[in-house]
């Protein structure tokens, strides 16, 4: 709290400075829209419902794609950790495709799925799944053999061993892998939405793209700020509980 007030004051001063500079310098509103113009855009876009609709469209794509990516990635990572053949095949594919920014999938995704929601989901999943596979695989491999042996002597076998020992033991890695997957998914979805404009529903990336086409930089800046805010909020909502849990049980530091 002690540092909170000065921090707010500095941010307020920055916004005020930006406003004053934008007005005094006579710079075109296209080059540097003042905060008041951005606020005006927010008010207008809220009234038409355009902003809320776009946020919902984007969040829906992200959430569904992200969770499909995790639901696929964790079992596949378990597979590559367990079987040598899977590690040498799927593991190598995952390692390769993880380095490919998933927006590169856009041309193929449009050919395969046309201009549908499925194409967008596909791009988000491609952004998520490889990072999650690699993190799960790595997490399971680094489990001390002692945990497995201790569990075996207490009668744990098969599915119980996987679900109650091996997956929880690799939780720190899985959490950081899903966090990385989230970052990839979020960036790739924004890139795809800016890149692919003709779709039934407009997401935040599309609005940003339209702002560019209309030279409405107040809209572009407004959307940039909103995208930052959503990314930040999702990070807190999705990962803070897990990081608190890791911190409490493992004694790991929150990052």
């Amino acid at each position: 709290m002690k540092n909170f007030i000065p921090a707010v004051a500095i941010f307020a001063a920055l916004v005020a400075g930006w406003e004053i500079y934008a007005r005094q310098s006579g710079a075109s509103a296209v080059l540097l829209p003042p905060p008041s113009a951005v606020a005006q855009y927010y008010l207008g876009a809220m009234k038409t419902g355009e902003l809320l609709d776009a946020s919902l469209v984007t969040m829906r794509r992200l959430t569904i794609g992200y969770f499909i990516g995790i639901a696929l990635g964790i079992p596949l990572g378990m597979l590559t950790a367990r079987f040598k053949l899977a590690h040498n095949t799927l593991g190598v594919i995952a390692l390769g495709l993880q380095t490919l920014p998933s927006v590169c999938w856009v041309p193929l995704a449009i050919l395969w799925f046309r201009l549908t929601e499925t194409a967008m989901l596909f791009i988000v999943i491609m952004g998520t799944v490889w990072a999650v596979i690699l993190a799960t695989d790595h997490g399971i491999r680094q489990i001390p053999p002692l945990y497995r042996e201790a569990a075996l002597t207490m009668g744990s076998r098969g599915l119980h061993l996987w679900c109650r020992v091996l997956v929880p033991a690799s939780l720190p890695h899985i959490v950081s892998g899903t966090k990385q997957g989230w970052a990839f998914a979020w960036r790739s979805l924004m890139a795809a939405e800016i890149y692919v404009t003709i779709l039934g529903a407009n997401g935040l990336g599309h609005l940003l793209h339209f702002g560019r086409e209309l030279h409405a930089m107040d809209q572009v800046v407004g959307l940039m700020l909103l995208i930052i805010f959503i990314g930040f909020a999702a990070d807190k909502v999705l990962f803070s509980p897990w990081e608190r849990f890791l911190h409490r049980r493992w004694g790991l530091r929150e990052s």
Binding site: E149, T153, M154, V165, R249, W250
Partner: protein
Amino acid sequence: MSVATELSPPPPAKIRLSGVNKVFAGPRGNLTALQDIDLEIGDGEFVCFVGSSGCGKSTLLRIVAGLERDFTGDAEVDGNPIKEPGRDRTVMFQEHALFPWLDTMGNVLFGLKLKPGLTDHERKEVAHYYLQLVGLAGFERSAIHELSGGMKQRVALARALAPNPRVLLMDEPFAALDAMTREQLYGDIQAIHAARKQTILFVTHNVREAVCLGDRVLLFSPRPGRIRREFKVELPRPREFNDAALAALSREITNELKTILAIPAPGVVAA
């Protein structure tokens, strides 16, 4: 099954090993970890394995635990060949091996939850009993990393005891602890053994620890790992670690161990 039967001592187990050999295949040839082990351990007996590192004492414990598969010879508990690990033979490891994703209570409950025929309430009652027994009542919700080294080993002991095993296997469980904590735990282990009469196999490199705890002390020599001598310890219980008679006997055994380690046994030809 009920809490009462859960908490009453189970019939202790007899262990019989005969002609046990274990060879580890390494990159630079094979290493004979255990050679011709013949050993009978009676019901409720407390047996200590002593030897330098690499003498196969831990490997033998792991064979009884069912964690080592590729050995030759016979290993039986009550006449049944040992094929895999099981709740009737729980293990306490040198490193506590507690699960960090579970709290203290969750760790003690882990083995109990796998035991059929108990309600959740009964399992909790049993877990509470053992936490109390090792002096950790009130720490149920503590995270493992919050506990001291001695407390962690106590939780590990409670976790090993909770499924009511017939055999308790302890692999240098106190090696990483300070002397004060260790001496406390010697008292606790003896009290638990007196009350519950499990068969206990205890691996250590500390002769005095073995003499303090064991009914019998077996001396191992390395490369290949073999049992070279055995001593019956007939000192009255409970034994005090700093007792004079105990110190005298452990000195005698230590001298014996030194002799064994320095002079190769007759019939053993260097490879």
